[in-house]
Structures are given as C-alpha cells and as structure tokens.
Symmetry: C2
DNA sequence: ACCTGAACACCGTTCAAGT
DNA sequence: ACCTGAACACCGTTCAAGT
C-alpha cells in the first residue's frame, strides 16, 4: 500500500515488492497467488478503512452536501488506491458507508425507495467521477487545457477562450454539479 | 488504431504491432521514436476525426442537450481510444469542436465570458466523466454493484437496497445530471 | 509449511550493422 | 533513408527442489 500510495500502481511489480520485502519473488506467489490477487487484497484492505464520515449542517440538504464533500476529500487522500479499486470494479463497495449515511438523511426528507436510489446513485457517480477525472488530469502536461490556437480567429469572446485555455478548477466544477444535483433531487 | 479499438490498449505492444505489420520491432522505432510517441500519434489521429456534431431541437436549451447527448454517443463509439486520450491529458483538445458549438448556443441565451466558460466546463466534465466511468465499470465483474449483504440487516427499505445492488444505468445517471446542470446553468 | 533459483514467455529500448 | 538482429534490463508466472 505504501508503494502504491507514494507513487503509482506501476511501481508495484512483483519483483520490486520482493526486493522491498527482502524475499525471493516466488515467495509472494506462495502467499497471495498472483498479482491480480495481490491487487484485490490491496483493495479489500482499503475498503476496510472506509467507515462513516463526520456530518455537519442543520438541514438535511446541508448535511447531504457535507457528506458528499467529505467523501470527495477522503477519496482524494488516496487517489492511487482509489484508481486501483475503480479499475477492479469495487467503486460501489467503497461507497457503502456513504450510501447508508445518505439514505438516513434522505429518509428525513421522505425520499425513499427508487427516489433514494436515484439520488444516491447520482451523488456517488458525481463524487467518484470528480476524483477519477481530477487524478487522471493531474498527470500528463496538458491536463485538461484547450489550446487557444485551436479556436477560430473569428472568435471574439476572449474571456471565454482564455478561461477554456487555463486549467480546470475541479473543486468549482464539483460544487456546481453538486448544487445542481441537490436542487433537482431534493426539490 | 484497429488493435486498440477492437481490444484494449494493453494489446498494443511494440512487438505485437510489429508482427501485425510484418516488420522487425525496431523498424517502428525508426519511424515513431518510442511507444509514448506512438500513443500520441494515435490520439492526434483520433482528434482529427472530431468535428462538429449534428444538432437538433428548436430552443437553445434543447439544442444544448442534443449536443451533449450526441457527444456522449460519439465518444462511446471509441471508448478505448478515448481512454488513451484521457490518459494522455488530451481530453479538452478532443472537445474543442463541442466547445465551439456550445458557445454559439449559449450566446443566443446571452451567456458569454465567464458564465459560458463555467457552463461549457461543467458539461464537458459531465460527458467525459460519464464515458470514462462507464467504460471502466464495463470491465471487471462487480462493475459498480453494491453487495446487499454489506447493508445492516436492520435496513428495511428493500426497494432501495435492491436498486443499489443492481447494475447502474449510466444513461439515466447521465440524463439526470445533464438536466440538473441545464436547470442551474440556463436559469 | 514456507522459501529458493532456474527457466519460460513476454515486455520496451538501444545500437551497431546491414542494404 | 530505411530495416535488421543481437543484446540489455525489465516484466509475470511456473515448477522442481530445498529446508
């Protein structure tokens, strides 16, 4: 986990890990099977640490927004591990404690059943997407920036072109999307 | 491109490509430099094919929604190549023609400058996220599903639990998020 | 029960040598 | 100008052999 957390999944090779542990590569195979199984164990360990999050706010809406922001922040503390979990199809499992917290708040607003499932799904998607997109963008040079030269010269909205050619503010995009969802979901 | 499109980026190895081309591996290096450069060329070729999209609808709002849906559909036709572009930090470059189309429609609603940039950024994020998340989920078995057993037995909202433990309908999540964004952005 | 080294089939990349 | 084979430093994985 330290290896992945500090760097990237790419540094977690069986040979490198063996060197770090001071054993032969093949000893790892006896214990965990193979690399895929090792990654699954890694994700399981990550999932264990995913408990409920502290909630603030008085109205249910404020509390739901707080839960969403807290989760985004928490996931962002382990972006590389999140990426592994996401790749292994364990995104939803990661979110179970959040689902329960949201369900409680939604029930206070008399939103249950299908409506609650839709709301939770949309919020979960928004949070996971925000982390995944920002993480990918944070590697590589052009990260999410549009070349101004790509625009037709006839385009006179210089403010717009300048804004689109500067780095994306993912926090702002996240908050905008979150508020938009809450408006729609909570009525 | 065929290799990546039909399978996955992982099958595009220098040696496999060389075999496909009937040359020695090293010939590729003379032409393109190395694997990274090859992937960049791949992305550039993809970007060339990204022109404007046909728009339908009478009101600007309907037209904007149509543009967003069309782009999601177009990107979904090349999910593996999109993944490569995203990984290489070329997501925004891919969207330039869409940005221009949206700018035109937004101007009709008197949304320009910072407001237009915010709107375009939010819509672009939503579309790209939808494709990236759905693609990742579509590989691996548990794809986005919550184990019902993970819920406390005390939980009585069986409709909610059942919905959360069945596969995510990404189209529905996309449409919900899109409508929410349009409500907020277009007033 | 747990660990080892050797071996196999793969990678990306470099470089001197060919035509 | 363009292609080749050999070589290097990496991978994941298997398996017989050790203690």
């Amino acid at each position: 986990m330290r290896l992945v957390e500090d760097n990237d999944i790419s540094v977690l090779t069986m040979r490198r890990l063996a060197a770090e542990l001071g054993t032969a590569v093949t000893a790892i195979y006896w214990h965990v099977g193979n690399r895929d199984a090792l990654l699954d164990l890694l994700v399981d360990r990550l999932l264990e640490d995913m408990g409920a999050v502290p909630v603030t706010g008085r109205t249910p809406r404020a509390r739901i927004a707080s839960i969403a922001r807290q989760w985004r922040q928490r996931l962002w503390e382990h972006p590389h591990l999140i990426a592994v979990a996401h790749e292994r199809g364990k995104t939803a499992a990661m979110f179970v404690p959040m689902q329960a917290q949201l369900a409680t708040e939604l029930a206070l607003l008399d939103i249950r059943g299908d409506g609650a499932a839709t709301a939770i799904g949309a919020l979960q998607f928004h949070i996971a997407a925000s982390v995944v997109m920002e993480r990918t963008a944070s590697r590589g040079p052009d990260s999410g920036v549009t070349e101004p030269s790509a625009w037709p010269a006839s385009y006179t909205d210089t403010t717009l072109v300048r804004r689109l050619s500067s780095p994306v503010d993912y926090s702002a995009v996240f908050d905008l999307g979150l508020e938009a969802l809450l408006d729609r979901l909570l009525g």
